[in-house]
Structure formats: structure tokens, C-alpha cells
């Protein structure tokens, strides 16, 4: 910038020549300079003001915006109780199909000790022994006087015990809240529910982990905090389960059996309405697994879903079903029953001699091994395998039990023609009673595959793929009905319920090979009512014997069938099934006028 002097020489000289005061020029120049400086200052002040204004505007806009957001948002309760512990102590309830509680949680107290805070360990142990007589006193005293800083004394104590411990007045004995799993019905559905145990433990809470059954299968869902308030509904009917357990327990005692399994299944949905395996246990005090011996003798063993047995003649119906469905025979086709069939060293015999020939219907009704073997031989191994596979007898069942997931049926290692014949009457193949129940459900429901489930099915039944023709299913039901009316299950008649079923008595295999002569698995697979099948009921008795009509009897007709008769008599009314009494189809109502 070119600086203008206050007194420019040229103008001063000029002013002097004109006789003017040159000071005026200086004053003019000075005022000009001042004007410029002022203008600059003003500009700067204006800019500052604008920035400040903008800052204020932004501040207020932020507050205003937040207010608008607050006004528009839903009011929410401030969550204050933030759970500090990382352990999920909550577990969803389990209820039956009618809403009765099968498993729930209860708050109890755990007792722990901090030995370094205990004033008088000897007195404390002495007093604790009086409250809990089963505590090991020496071990506890050793722990109390040792170096450990923390000891669990008791996992669950009652309020009375808590008060007594409180009264000891020992500052080193402390309590922590603890959630425990309660199964109010005790042994009733023990094998279905399984049980729980404590996982990670903490002074404030402990994790409850499912160790078996439904509790283990659905462990993640039960502990999911989002679903804790939403109970798991099973297909089990508590009343039916209680009735079934009672009758089966009584039947097992009368028949001198060492174990029993029973399953009641809806033939259309595959829902397991009731499932009992005896001997059982109390899931509240789950016993430890056996250390030695056969695990299948443990009360923890679920005979219905875990035990694979050769179920004998109940399999004959599958052979006939396949043959009928393929159109190879009809119910009236005559089958040669002359025996025994010799196959190398192996002989296939019948319980009685049934003469030269029997119709297919009578092969089932009289339960002829030779007849069934001939039907299977005629059909061939491939067809037999195709049908048994389609009925789900080759793969583990879909039931929601942790221990049943890996239970695969035992099949012949190589499926020879002899295997085809023995499998046709249920020998050389071992499945669980649950497999049998689902396969019979398929035979009964018109031929659709059934996947057994322990969860309640809501709404319409979604049938599985078709395995058999509807007509085959109807014929099979007629056969089952005939087995009861004039065959091996003549004790199975329950007035009004049109029971049909097939008996099966299979010799138990020896662990060393071969079969026992005096130990059988007696099974009765029943369907009722046969004219419109609703339920399948399977009962398996392990080693039953009963003295009847002057002889020791072991066959299913004498052992399993009478128990099933009693079961259906008691269960059907509980399931709201009205007996069909002859003539009651035409009910005429008398109108009464007053």
C-alpha cells in the first residue's frame, strides 16, 4: 500500500501560494486515515458478532432438536437394576399340554464359609453337624482351619436350616441366594424331563444347566433371557402320565417284570401324550450313573427311548404291510405254513403247528413265524428294507430327548435272505419302543410318516410323506382288531373302545451270544379305536413271568396284554374318549315339555 503523507509537499506549497493555512490539509488527511481505520474495525466486529451469533444459534438448535426428539420418542422406564452378575440364573418353566407345571424354579439359600473370618472353627463345626448330620465333620474342620478362603458348605438349605445356622452367630458362615429347579410331580415324568445341575457358581447366583432329557435338549432355549417368561409346553398330559405310571407300575409288579416301558402316542400328530419307563427316579434328587454293571439297569436309563430291544412278533405287521402295499398278497391269500423252515443250521418254527396253510390275515392273528418268513421271502430283502426305512426303523427318532438323539437301531450287519426272514418276525433287528410306536402310528393314521415329538402341536396336523396306501392301513387295522377278537391278544378286549394290537414275545439275547430260554421281552403294540385310530399304545415288559392256568407264562398274551387292557380302560376316559356301546350310535333324545 502506498502511504500518503499527512502533509504532501505539492499541496502545501500550493496552499502557501494562495495564502491558505497548510494545517487544514494535514487535518483533512488525518481524518481520512481515521475513517479507513474505523471502517476496518467495524468490519472485524461485525464478523465476530456473526460467528458468536452462529454459535448461539447452533447451541439452541441442538437443545431444541433434543427436545423435539424427546417429545417424539416413547417414554421408557429407566432400567436401574442392571444385573451385575454374568451368570444367567433364570430358567424357563416347563408345562404340560394343559398348562400344569412340570418344572419351575424356587429361590433357596446356599451356605458358604470364609474360614479366615471364622472365630471358633471347632464350635462352628460342632453346631453345623447338629443341623446337617450328614456332613463329614473331620473334613469340614480341616477346611475351616486350613488355608482356603472360601468353602461351599451346602448348596441348598431350607429357611429353617438358615435360621439355625444364623443362630450359631459365626461371622464366617455366610448365605448366598440360589435358584433351584423344582419338579413338583416327582418321579412322574422323570425320564422326559431329565434333570438339571449347577454349572458356574457364584456367591450371588448359580447357573442351572440341563443334564438330561428335555432339559438338556432345550438347554439354550430354556436359558435364553428373551424366552425366560415363556414356558416350554410339552405334549405330555399330566393326568394321563400319572394314570399310566400307576397302572404300569402295578402291572410290572404283578407280572414280576424287572422293567417296563410304555408309550401313548397320537397317531396323527406324533405327539407323545405319555411316556413311562420303570424303574424311574426323582429328578429333584437325580441319582448318579452306575459306576459298574450294565447302564441299562440304572433307573436313569430310559427304556422307552434309549433301550433297543428285539421286539419280536410286533414286526410281523410291517412285513404284511409291505407285502399288502406292494400288491403281492391280499388278506385272503393263502400262505404255506408247513415247517420248520431249515436254513443251514438255523430252523424257523412256530409256537404251535398251524397246519398246511393259513390266510395272511390268520398268519397275523395266530402269529405264525413260518408264514411271515414265507411272505418276506416272497417279497425280497430290498422291498422289506425300503418299507422298514420309510417307517423310520433304521434311523434315530426325532424325539426331543438329549439321550435319544444318538440311539440307532441295531440291524443285521449283512442283510442275507435269512436276515430277511428273521427280521420279518422281529428277530435280528433291535429298535426302541418309541420307534415301534411311531411305526405303528404310521400304519394306523392312513399311512403317513410320523415323527414322534414331545412338544405340543398347535393347529392343523401336518402329515409327513405317505408310506402306505390308505386301503393298506384300513386292512391292517382290521387285522389288529382280529388279533384281539380271536387271536393271541384275546385278553386285550376293552368294551367300547375297539382295541386292536399285535403281541410280541422275544427271547432276550445273552451277552455271550445266543438267547435265554427263560427271559423274554414281552410287547403289546395296540391301536384304539381301530375303526378311526386315535392313539397308539405300546407296552414292553422286561422279563415278565406269571403263573396262570397252572403254568408259568411269559408270552405277551399273558403278561403285556392284560396290563394294556387295564391301561386303556383307565386312560381312554381320561383322554375324553367315550366308549362306543352297541346301539349307542342311534341316540334318540326325548324332548320334554313343561
Amino acid at each position: 500500500m502506498i502511504r500518503t503523507p499527512l502533509r504532501p509537499l505539492a499541496r502545501v506549497i500550493e496552499a502557501r501560494e494562495h495564502g491558505e493555512n497548510p494545517d487544514h490539509i494535514e487535518a483533512m488527511e488525518r481524518s481520512k486515515r481515521n475513517q479507513v481505520a474505523q471502517h476496518k474495525l467495524r468490519k472485524r466486529a461485525e464478523a465476530r458478532l456473526t460467528i458468536l451469533g452462529l454459535a448461539f444459534f447452533l447451541g439452541f438448535a441442538a437443545i431444541g432438536g433434543k427436545m423435539v426428539v424427546l417429545a417424539l420418542s416413547e417414554p421408557k422406564e429407566p432400567t436401574l437394576i442392571a444385573s451385575s452378575s454374568k451368570i444367567y440364573s433364570q430358567r424357563a418353566d416347563i408345562i404340560d399340554r394343559n398348562g400344569a407345571v412340570l418344572a419351575t424354579n424356587l429361590i433357596t439359600t446356599a451356605l458358604y464359609a470364609q474360614p479366615h473370618k471364622i472365630l471358633n472353627p471347632v464350635a462352628a463345626v460342632e453346631k453345623l453337624i447338629k443341623i446337617f448330620p450328614d456332613i463329614d465333620a473331620d473334613k469340614l474342620l480341616k477346611n475351616f482351619t486350613g488355608k482356603r478362603k472360601f468353602i461351599w458348605v451346602r448348596k441348598k438349605i431350607s429357611p429353617e436350616q438358615q435360621q439355625l445356622v444364623h443362630d450359631i452367630g459365626e461371622p464366617g458362615l455366610l448365605f448366598g441366594p440360589r435358584e433351584m429347579r423344582l419338579y413338583p410331580n416327582g418321579t412322574l415324568a422323570a425320564h422326559i424331563l431329565g434333570g438339571t445341575s449347577f454349572g458356574k457358581e457364584d456367591v450371588r447366583a448359580a447357573e442351572l444347566i440341563g443334564v438330561a432329557g428335555v432339559e438338556k435338549f432345550f438347554d439354550d432355549r430354556m436359558r435364553d433371557p428373551a424366552q425366560v417368561d415363556n414356558p416350554l409346553q410339552l405334549s405330555i398330559d399330566l393326568t394321563a402320565q400319572a394314570t399310566m405310571r400307576r397302572v404300569v407300575e402295578g402291572g410290572m409288579k404283578i407280572m414280576n417284570a424287572k422293567g417296563a416301558a410304555a408309550i401313548l402316542m397320537d397317531v396323527h400328530t406324533g405327539e407323545i401324550i405319555s411316556m413311562v419307563s420303570l424303574p424311574d427316579f426323582d429328578p429333584n434328587k437325580r441319582p448318579r450313573p452306575l459306576v459298574k454293571g450294565n447302564q441299562s439297569d440304572s433307573p436313569l436309563f430310559n427304556r422307552a427311548a434309549q433301550g433297543v430291544y428285539e421286539l419280536g412278533s410286533t414286526f410281523k405287521l410291517f412285513t404284511v404291510a409291505a407285502s399288502l402295499d406292494e400288491g403281492l398278497v391280499t388278506e385272503d391269500t393263502m400262505i404255506d405254513t408247513r415247517g420248520p423252515i431249515k436254513w443251514g443250521k438255523f430252523k424257523i418254527r412256530d409256537f404251535h403247528d398251524y397246519g398246511k396253510q393259513l390266510s395272511v390275515m390268520d398268519v397275523i392273528v395266530k402269529s405264525s413265524n413260518i408264514g411271515t418268513a414265507r411272505i418276506a421271502q416272497n417279497m425280497g430283502a430290498d422291498t422289506q428294507k425300503k418299507y422298514l426305512d420309510a417307517l423310520g426303523l433304521f434311523t434315530p427318532t426325532s424325539v426331543e430327548l438329549a439321550e435319544a438323539k444318538h440311539i440307532k437301531p441295531l440291524l443285521p450287519p449283512n442283510w442275507s435272505e435269512l436276515s430277511t426272514m428273521t427280521v420279518s418276525y422281529g428277530h435280528g433287528i433291535a429298535v426302541t419302543p418309541l420307534h415301534l410306536a411311531s411305526a405303528y402310528a404310521t400304519l394306523a393314521n392312513g399311512g403317513y410318516k410320523v415323527n414322534p415329538t414331545l412338544l405340543k402341536v398347535d393347529g392343523k396336523t401336518a402329515y409327513g410323506p405317505r408310506v402306505l396306501k390308505d386301503a393298506t392301513s384300513k386292512t391292517l387295522m382290521r387285522m389288529l382288531r382280529n388279533v384281539v377278537t380271536r387271536g393271541t391278544a384275546s385278553f386285550g378286549e376293552v368294551k367300547g373302545y375297539s382295541v386292536g394290537g399285535k403281541t410280541g414275545s422275544a427271547d432276550k439275547p445273552k451277552p455271550s451270544g445266543g438267547y435265554y430260554d427263560d427271559k423274554v421281552i414281552a410287547t403289546f403294540a395296540s391301536v384304539f379305536p381301530t375303526d378311526d385310530p386315535k392313539y397308539v399304545l405300546i407296552l414292553t415288559l422286561d422279563e415278565p413271568t406269571i403263573e396262570a392256568a397252572g403254568e408259568v407264562r411269559r408270552t405277551a398274551g399273558w403278561t403285556a396284554v392284560p396290563v394294556v387292557t387295564e391301561l386303556i380302560t383307565r386312560l381312554a376316559p381320561v383322554l375324553n374318549m367315550r366308549p362306543e356301546v352297541a346301539g349307542s350310535g342311534k341316540v334318540h333324545y326325548t324332548q320334554v315339555k313343561n
Binding site: T104, I107, L182, N185, H588, Y589, N594
Partner: protein
């Protein structure tokens, strides 16, 4: 005029400050109340859970059956059987037929024309 404006403004600001102060304390009180209530709700939920468990335990089929057996004299309850189903014909409807009224019947009270 300007002074009056300043005084009004100052009073207004003081008023707002007081209002904000009281609101703050009210909010804190409400939060404390919520905390107390939440604790109470948790406690009540626990009680409900205990009562539900106890109800289920008292209504377990084994116990009910034992009670029925114990009180058989009074209750006379037996397990449900197929024979307990009946027809509507078996319901005892009244059998006496009331004849139609033919004779004059005196009615107490005044009659209206």
C-alpha cells in the same frame, strides 16, 4: 423502558432456573421411587413363583390320589372308568306331567279392566 425489559428478563430467567431445579429433584425422587417399586416387583414375582411352585406341588397327582384314598368315606371318589359315560337318556328329567289349567284360578290383588 429498557430497564424494565431487563428486569422482566432477569426475573424470567430466575423463574426458569427455579423450575428446572425443582424438576430435577422431582425426577430424582421419581427414579428412587421406581427403584423401590422395581425391587418390590422383583420380590412379588419371587413370591408368585414360590406360590406357583407350592400350588403345583400340593396338586401333584400322587398327593391328590393319596388324599382321595384317605377321604374315601366322605368323597367316595374312584378312578374314572368307561362305564361312567352316560347317555342324555339316562338323565332323570321330571316325569310328572302338569295338566293344562282349565278351572278358574283366584288371583290375589286387584285386576285392571
Amino acid at each position: 423502558m429498557r430497564n424494565l425489559f431487563f428486569i422482566v428478563c432477569a426475573t424470567f430467567v430466575i423463574g426458569l432456573a427455579y423450575w428446572a431445579y425443582t424438576e430435577n429433584y422431582k425426577t430424582q425422587a421419581a427414579l428412587k421411587q421406581v427403584h423401590v417399586l422395581q425391587k418390590q416387583i422383583a420380590l412379588e414375582k419371587e413370591t408368585i413363583a414360590v406360590l406357583k411352585a407350592e400350588w403345583a406341588y400340593l396338586n401333584r397327582p400322587d398327593r391328590l390320589r393319596d388324599l382321595v384314598d384317605l377321604n374315601f368315606e366322605d368323597l367316595k371318589l374312584i378312578p374314572l372308568a368307561p362305564s361312567h359315560f352316560g347317555d342324555s337318556e339316562m338323565v332323570g328329567y321330571p316325569t310328572t306331567i302338569i295338566d293344562s289349567v282349565t278351572d278358574a284360578v283366584t288371583i290375589s290383588g286387584e285386576s285392571q279392566p
